[in-house]
Amino acid sequence: MILVGVFVYGFIGNTIWTSMTDWGGSGSLALEPEKNFIGLDNYIDLFTGFLGSGFRQDLVNAVYYSVLLLAGAVGLGMFIAILLDQKPRGEDVLRTIFLYPMALSFIVSGTIWRWLLAPQGGINILPTYVGLKPMTFSWLSSQAAILVFNWQDLLRILLFMAAFILILVGLFMLRRDQGRAIGRWLIPGIVIGAFVWLFGDIIPDALFMEEEHGFNMATLGIIMATIWQYSGYTMALYLAGFNGISQDLRDAAMLDGATQVGYYRHIAIPMLKPITISAVIILSHISLKMFDLIFAMTGPDNAQTGHPALTMYLTTFRSNDFARGAAIAIVLFLIAAMFIVPYLVGQYRQRGRD
């Protein structure tokens, strides 16, 4: 227990300290490397400095990876689970097929997918077998990006998003509690939105030069491979959940005239909310440390597909820039903590009630 205490909390502390030093460059591998305290400079450089642009693209990628992995794996996993819940023949075989990627290492699946996504082969020539033209999409090397935004506008975009969410929540609440919906959600949302829209110019730029980031098409292949690997997992979670719902409840719903779709939408899926939450937590944790897969698929070749976890490794162990690597690690850690801490606190409270 003490070991875990030291290895987890002691080491996190140590990394925080390292991230505030200038440890790096030549001589950094010496047993007693020279380290000087430089405060938050590493972070400032990552977020605003010239050299940090790669990291900022990585962060943007990480957000897209996470969102799409979550949507894809949870969506597809739930869909397959519903299909298998119809008890088709050969259910066992199918379940085995859908779940086997989960047993594989990211390196194995990354190696195979890299070959599948090769430019003039693999997936791209599949359409030719049904008489269509081959696709010419360069899955892993594309430089094209969609949804491009200027990193300078980041603060404005974030505020817009906040306003949008506030208004959305407000509209949802409207039916339940009109007063609070308007006072707490709608009005602040509209005020923030209007303010940014009208006076956006006085909000400081997040960066001193223009820098464009977007969703890189080259990351699509990686996302596809991750979804392939993890939707079986969510399927298993949901299937276990569906099996846990009693047949009586299902029969009762059917007697009340619920359709299949209605049963899942209004009864089964809402009942499995805890499972959805665990799946989201596990998958977001996986997407944050997604290093092996990208390493195996594009490696350091295509910077457009980078991810903070990969950059952390490259900066730390290839460029020996330990301090900056530590800073990246801490950023990752903070993002992870945003998901995990509330979850663990919830779990703890639940344990207390038991």
Binding site: M1, L99, T111, G122, I282, R351
Partner: protein
């Protein structure tokens, strides 16, 4: 519920399931087909076709190349799995049957270790192992896997031991049995299924691990994932080798999955912190 009639609904269900199954099997097919081709027969336009001549030599060549990594991985996985399950079981026993003041808080803090991105502890881990003279070899890697495997194994065992009635422990305590004798005589024999689940989970995780393997070991002690990544890394590789290597790296865990699937899935579900 057995359906014998062919309805539009069931046709729809089966066709979607078939398409999905094909999508999930696609990479496995591709790996097998490519691994069995002669290097000269591998070309992008014919990637999906069956090999004209079966060439098993890729496998022997891949085995030759990856043998040291394979052996490393076996040693690593067995030692680390054993260590982390044993300690995890003791921990789980403490957290479920010898609760102390604040043990729930400690346990929650403990679980946190399971979810941190390992990048955040990588640098100090690297330094510590170096200071302990364990960097570069298997013992260091084993130690890392044991320590960071503890949160998940403790969790699985704790949930498992929650099913053992506390009355049983208490009566043993009244009979004068102590902490360890209760563990050895009562808890341990009852927890064999728990050991199976936890070991399978740990085995899979450790076998598949890559980040520590590449950061904490020197070339001679690289586990199989690192060996495979190096095999597949170059630009001008003939793809039969990496594919054969991938199959090799996947076989142990796939065997576990196929033959002990029930326990594997249970581990999977336990790993999702369901309580």
């Amino acid at each position: 519920m057995v359906r014998s009639k062919i309805t539009p609904g069931s046709v729809f269900l089966y066709s979607i399931l078939t398409v999905l199954a094909l999508f999930f099997l696609m990479p496995a097919y591709m790996a097998a087909v490519t691994a069995l081709k002669m290097p000269a027969d591998i070309s992008l336009p014919s990637a999906w076709e069956l090999p004209p001549v079966f060439n098993w030599a890729s496998f022997s060549e891949a085995i030759e190349l990856l043998r040291p990594n394979f052996i490393n991985s076996i040693i690593l996985t067995i030692c680390a799995t054993f260590g982390s399950t044993m300690l995890g079981s003791l921990n789980g026993y403490v957290f479920s049957k010898w609760k102390f003041k604040g043990s729930d808080i400690v346990f929650t803090l403990f679980l946190f270790g399971m979810f941190i991105p390992y990048q955040v502890i990588l640098i100090p881990l690297f330094q510590t192992l170096r200071a302990m003279n364990l960097y570069g070899g298997l013992p260091g890697l084993i130690l890392a896997h044991i320590v960071y495997g503890l949160p998940i194994t403790s969790l699985i065992f704790r949930n498992f031991y929650a099913q053992i009635p506390t009355a049983l422990i208490e009566s043993a305590r009244l009979d004068g049995a102590g902490f360890f004798s209760i563990y050895l005589r009562i808890v341990f024999p009852l927890s064999i299924p728990g050991f199976v689940v936890t070991s399978l989970w740990q085995f899979t995780q450790i076998w598949n691990e890559f980040l520590w393997g590449i950061c904490l070991t020197r070339h001679a002690d690289n586990p199989i994932t690192v060996g495979l990544a190096q095999l597949a890394g170059g630009q001008a590789v003939s793809w039969n080798l990496p594919m054969a290597g991938s199959i090799m790296a996947a076989v142990p865990v796939l065997c576990i999955y196929i033959f002990l699937g029930r326990y594997f899935i249970r581990g999977l579900l336990a790993g999702s912190v369901k309580e």
